[in-house]
């Protein structure tokens, strides 16, 4: 199916890494399906940059909503994996990366919460092949300009 100028980016990651916060700070007004701060279905928002409309779909991170990841990944052009610098790279993160690679979905990494932790970028490149790695803090809007520039550069 032709998508003419519609680009779908899925924001994915394990629970509490800050996916919803990232979308809110990146986009502004987003639609959320949530309960007490936990995303239970999806988040949705869009940005128009250089005449291209980018549709962002956020996924739940809690393990019990794993099926929503697969559902939401349908027709995705690019994935943005969010990692929590204070937790490091977890087994769940590795599973998510393997899922994306098995579906041949190109992805970039945003290391969130660098105000309270850190992940060495080389550690990420050691075991996977992201198009980019950006560090920042979604809540403080730190690194978001760099992130959006990288996303725009890498989406086709």
């Amino acid at each position: 199916m032709k998508k003419d100028n519609k680009i779908k980016v899925v924001v994915i990651g394990s629970n509490d890494v800050g996916k919803t916060t990232l979308m809110e700070n990146l986009i502004g007004r987003i639609g959320k399906v949530e309960y007490k701060g936990i995303t239970t279905a999806i988040d949705y928002g869009s940005l128009t940059i250089n005449n291209k409309k980018i549709h962002f779909f956020g996924t739940p991170g809690q393990k019990r909503f794993e099926f929503m990841r697969e559902l939401t990944l349908k027709g995705t052009d690019f994935a943005l994996i969010v990692l929590d610098a204070s937790k490091g790279i977890t087994k769940e993160d590795e599973e998510i990366i393997r899922l994306l690679e098995s579906k041949k979905i190109p992805y970039g990494v945003f290391i969130n919460k660098i105000d309270i932790g850190d992940i060495d970028i080389s550690e990420i490149y050691n075991f996977c092949n992201p198009k980019f790695v950006v560090k920042g803090c979604a809540m403080k809007k730190d690194g978001l300009n760099e992130l959006i520039n990288e996303v725009v550069t890498h989406i086709q």
Binding site: K3, I42, Y44
Partner: protein, 115 residues
Amino acid sequence: MIDRVLLELNKTEGIKGSMVVGKDGLVIASQLPGNIDAELVGAMASAAFGAAERTASEIGMGNLEQTMIEGEHGKILMVDAGEGILAILTESKVNLGLIRITMKRAVDKIKAMLS
């Protein structure tokens, strides 16, 4: 053109608006009342439909025929349309039988247009 099918659908008594959204959550065609954010509704409707489909399959209900969301002031009915999902908004008091027949006719046309 799918929009024409939707406009025709919207003439049915009780139907307030309709849209076709892809199973990827992106809107294919939309004829909804102006105050509604079609893209947001489309994303959520596809998530709701997908989750319903998954639930039905987990319970062993067979193929998902239709989902219906009933609100105080109206209903949303969603039907599988092949590559997409047909969603219609209705008044709260509607002749469901008539709506279902009308939707079935529209879905057949839409499925053909999408394949």
